[in-house]
Each structure stands twice: as structure tokens, then as C-alpha cells.
């Protein structure tokens, strides 16, 4: 996949411009962290990017978008609905095939919740729900990850594991993060957002936490 060019990203809320207009080019293999104060426009930016790539990306939105009544397996399986026929999908709703069950099970294993495969999403804790959304995005199998605070509900050790896992398995990623240390550790490039504009754009290796703190 060649690099991505995001041009003319703008968003308004109640007639007031909250994001942009801004442009951002993301090279193949780059792992970009969007940092900045809450309300700076990071979430809106992730949504705009998802629209601009015409949904051809693995997305982890902040509100997760799980179907609460369905078990974890089906929530994850929804990442690949487009690959199968209507009959396959309908049958899977009633009785999943073994190869899909195993694929999803190994993802859940990786995320430390293999025993939850048949539990409805509604009865999971916040951190577990977040991991289901991560598994779904991974199962989606796109080389590009767009994620909005994907580890906000995970404890430290698990958060590190997930960030490492995500950045090593997705070719390219844009991740909104409020945790500056995580951003510096796992991402290759830091983009700071302030009042809907890019206020900082530098390789992670050239920055120290203090440089980013000026945004907050």
C-alpha cells in the first residue's frame, strides 16, 4: 500500500469550525500518534480519515460500536462479513464454523480473554469490551489501523502488550492517544493537535515527553 494523503480535512459543529482545514500525509509503514488535549479534535480527525479512505481501514472508535446482544465471537466475526455469502453469514449467526471459531479464539487468546468467546458483549467489563473492539479491528485484516484511544480502559501491562501487538501487526496506523509515554514508545511519529490544527509534527525519536507537554 502506498502512503496516504489526507487533504482538506475539516469539520464544523454548530456552524463553528472545530477541525482544520488541515492536510496530513502518512507514509507506508509509519505509526502516527495523534496527541493533544481532550476536545482538541483528535476523535473527529480519526472519523474524517475513516470517511476519506472510504471505510477501507480497521477502525477502533472510542465508543466501540459493539452489538451488545451478540456474543463476543459474532462481534469479532463482523469484521469479515464482506468476505462471505449471505448463507455463510446467516448460518454463522446460528452455528459458527470451526475454522472461524478457531481464528477468533486465537485472537482472544492473544488479548487474554479466551474464555469470553460466547459471552454477550453486554455483560463484559469496560476493558473487555475494548479488547473485543480491538479484536474485531484486527480480524478485519486491513493493513491500515485507525484507532481512537484503543487502550484507555486497559491496565498498564496489558496496554503495553496491545500497543506493541497492534503496531507490529498493522503496516500503517494512526492512533489517537492521551498517554504521551505510550505514544513515544510505540509510534514512529507524533502529531500534536491543538484547536483543530497541527501544532507539532516530528519523529518520535526526536521528541521527549516535555516537548509534547506544551500542547496540554
Amino acid at each position: 500500500m502506498p502512503g496516504l494523503e489526507f487533504d482538506g480535512l475539516t469539520a464544523s459543529f454548530n456552524g463553528e469550525r472545530v477541525v482544520g482545514p488541515l492536510s496530513l500525509s502518512v507514509g507506508e509503514g509509519e505509526h502516527v500518534a495523534l496527541v493533544g488535549r481532550s476536545g482538541a479534535g483528535k476523535s473527529t480527525l480519526i472519523k474524517l480519515m475513516y470517511e476519506q479512505v472510504e471505510h477501507e481501514a480497521s477502525l477502533i472508535p472510542q465508543d466501540l460500536g459493539l452489538v451488545n446482544a451478540l456474543p463476543v465471537f459474532h462481534n469479532v466475526f463482523m469484521g469479515q462479513l464482506q468476505k462471505h455469502s449471505v448463507w455463510y453469514n446467516t448460518w454463522t449467526l446460528l452455528k459458527p464454523f470451526r475454522k472461524d471459531r478457531e481464528a477468533v479464539a486465537s485472537l482472544l487468546e492473544e488479548l487474554g480473554m479466551p474464555e469470553k468467546q460466547w459471552i454477550p458483549a453486554a455483560s463484559l467489563s469496560g476493558g473487555q469490551r475494548q479488547r473485543v473492539a480491538i479484536a474485531r479491528a484486527f480480524y478485519r485484516g486491513s493493513p491500515l489501523l485507525l484507532a481512537d484511544e484503543p487502550i484507555s480502559a486497559l491496565d498498564g501491562l496489558l496496554g503495553h502488550h496491545v500497543m506493541e501487538w497492534l503496531t507490529s501487526h498493522f503496516t500503517t496506523s494512526v492512533v489517537a492517544l492521551h498517554d504521551v509515554e505510550m505514544a513515544l514508545k510505540y509510534c514512529s511519529r507524533i502529531v500534536g493537535i491543538q484547536n483543530g490544527q497541527i501544532a507539532l509534527d516530528a519523529p518520535a525519536s526526536e521528541l521527549a515527553p516535555a516537548d509534547i507537554m506544551t500542547l496540554y
Partner: protein
Amino acid sequence: MFSYPTVRTSLIFLAIAVAGLLVADIAITTANPWQDLGRFFLGVATPNFFSTEGLATALLRTIAFAFVGVTLGSFFGFLLSLVYRFLPVRIFCAFIRAIHELFWALIFLQFFGFHPLTGVLAIAIPYAGIFAKVYSEILEEADQEPTRLLPPGTGAIAAFLYAKIPDCWVQLRTYTAYRLECGLRSSAILGFVGLPTLGFYLESSFSMGMYSDAGAMLILFYVLIATMPLWLKPKLLPIYILGAPFFLGEGLPIVWGNVERFFTEDIIPAPLRDGEGLAGLMPWLGDVMVTEALPGVWNTVVLTQIALVATGILSLLAFPLISKHFGGPVRRTSGHVLLVIARSTPEYILAYILLQLWGPSMLPAVVALALHNGGIIGHLIGRQSNTIHLRPDAPHGFARYTWELVPRLYRPFLAFLFYRWEIIMRETAILGILGIYTLGFYVDSAIQNIRFDRAMLLILITALLNIGVDALGRYIRRKLALQTMPTC
């Protein structure tokens, strides 16, 4: 206080109802109304379940008609709900649900006769219209986010099955179960036009003065409704649905010549049928309007307005019976039993019983409508009052009722009341079949006189009146910013 729009609206409706009372025909015309009522209650207290086998058969038929009708209604209603955003579909659904089950039954009786299809379609058609509307509302309220997240190229059916249906499933199921309960009531009253359900049994027991048989029927009906959670299990549902068509009874065979004649001759306005052309149509229309439609509409509206306000007053009086803010568990339990009886009895059956006991006037109809609908709304706002947490030093008794609870419950109360306005009017029109001069009376007499053209026109006018009141009710609810939910 008069500056509140809700209070002003209530007072306007109260004034209309009082004015209606002045012109309405409210009277008890039988010689010994209380003696008859006493005999009736004695009948209920000494039910006779074994006088004939008729009761068991009628019960079986009632359940079978309800299951087949509601199943078909929900199936086609669901299909319609998928295309409900198109205006012609919405108008079509509004029209078929504006015509009461009994009117549909009267229409089908004319050409299918006493064939099971008459009863099944009479329930399935209006229910499909209602299901279409409510299902589409439920589907619309589903979370949109999962659909947005699906990979591009996901088929519409897979998207619907994964991202929409599971999210709405519980609501769809609850509403359908509630409708099945309504279907049992509808099925029971179809007996009043001659189908072999409980209404038929009740009417024949009453006409022979066998109050103990009538009492047994009523008690069985309450038990049937009250035990629904016990016998209506998801696992048993396929058995019920597949089995029900075999218990509809044989009825009488359909004479297809009648069907053809009904559509090609009977319902064509008389002047057109007789070759008088459009010149004869106007006087005919004028005659129907002046002698039947207008008096029918007038009486229907007057009775509806009185019944609406009576329903409101009764619900406000009834809800403390089940509210945890008043009385102990004993009183609340008996309150629950009273309200369950009030809302489980179809208003048509209540009106029929009261009419037998008190003689023909608007009074039995008002009392029946108020008891049934007041029972429903009283139950709903009583339940809502239980979610209110009062401060520990809140006043008690009447002050608690007037200062703490009514002000908080008044808006949902009005929302429910205006939601049921159209339902009350639909019922009011149909009660005419019992001999009160509402639209149903004129429809029924036109059918008795084999003037189906007039009957169809009057049913059409009834439907338009219902659609109008439904629109007005929605307008008022929006104006007063009242929230409603579909399940009431």
C-alpha cells in the same frame, strides 16, 4: 398554574367533555339495574365451568385465531416495516390499522362467510399495520454505530442480521408478546359477530340469563391472560404457531360467487350500480352523509371525548392503588388484581355486559371505555411512580399525592392518554354495533339491510376520522413535548 400548557390543554379537554355530557344520552333505562348487576356478580362468584363443552371449544378457538392472526400480522408487518420509510407504505399501514378488527370481520363475513379465514384476516390485517409502524420505530432507534463500522462490501442482509436485529431483538419480542395478549382480546370479541370464539359463548350465555356460565368464561379468560408468562415460552412457540391453524375449526366453505359479487356489485354505490351515473351519486352521497355519517361522527366524537376524560380521571385515581408510595403490600396486591382485571377485559365485553344490565345509552360505553383504558394507564403510571425516589421527609397521604407525585407523573400521564385517544375513538365507533348510535351502529344497520355500498363508505369515513384523531393526538403530544413509547 393556569400558565402551564399541560394544565390548559387538560382544562380545554375537560370543558369539551362536560359540554359533551350535556348533549349526550346518559341514562339507565332498565327497571332493576342494580338487581341485574347483583345477579351478574353472583354468577361470577359461582362460575359453572362444566355446563357445556362449548366453553372449552370456544377457548381453544380463541387461542387459535389469536395465534394465527398475530403470527401472520407480525410476519407481514415486519416485511412492511422494512419499507416503512416510503410514504405510500405509511399511508397504507395507517389506513389498514384505522379499521377495527370487528369492522374487518364484518366485511369478510359478507363474502367469505363463517370461514376461519374471516377471523384470521380480521386480526392479521389491522395488526400488520400496527406491527409495521412499531417495528419500524424500534428498528430506527437501534444503535447506528455497528452498521457504520462494517467493512465495505458487506451485504445488506448480513448487515441487517448482525448489526440491527440483535440490538432490537428484546424489544421486538416484548412488543410482539404484548400484541399477542391484545390478539387474544381481539379474538375473543370476534365471537360477537358470530365467529366461534369466547364472545359468542358469552353472548349466548347472557341472552339465556346463564350468568354462571358467563362468569366461568370471564374467569377462564383472566386466567389465560394472567398465566401467559407461564405457557408462552420461546421453545414452545413453534409448536403453537404450527399447531394453531389446525384448531381454527371447519366453519362454512367459501362460496366464491359471493366473493366476486361483493367486489363487482355489492360495494358499488347504488346509483352507479343502477345505471344512474354520476348524476345520481351526489344525492346518494348527500343522503348517506346527512342521515348516517354525520350523526354517527357526532355521536362518536362526543362519546370519545367524554370517555377520554373519564379514562384520565380514573387513571389518576387508580394509580395510587399499585404505587409503592401509598399503602402496604396487601393493598398493592389487591390493587394489582383490580387493575389486571380492568385492563384484561376487552372494552367491548365490558360494554356488552353493562349494556345488558343498564339498558342502551352512552353510559355503559363510557364506563366500559374508562374502566379498560383507565386500568391500562393507571397501571403504566403507577409503575412509573415506583421509579420516583421521594426525600425521606416527604409529606404523606393526600399531600404526597397532590404535591409530590401528580406533578411528576402528569406529563407521562398525558402522553399515554393522548396516545390512547385514537384507540378510544376506534373502540367508540365499534361499540355502535351494540346499539349505541356511534358510527358502528350505522355500519351494522347498513349491513343488516344488505346495503354494503353504504357500509363501506361509512367504514371509510370511520377510518379517516381515526387517522385524523391520531394525527391531532401526535400534534398535541409534540406541541406539549410529551415523550411516548409504543408499548401501551
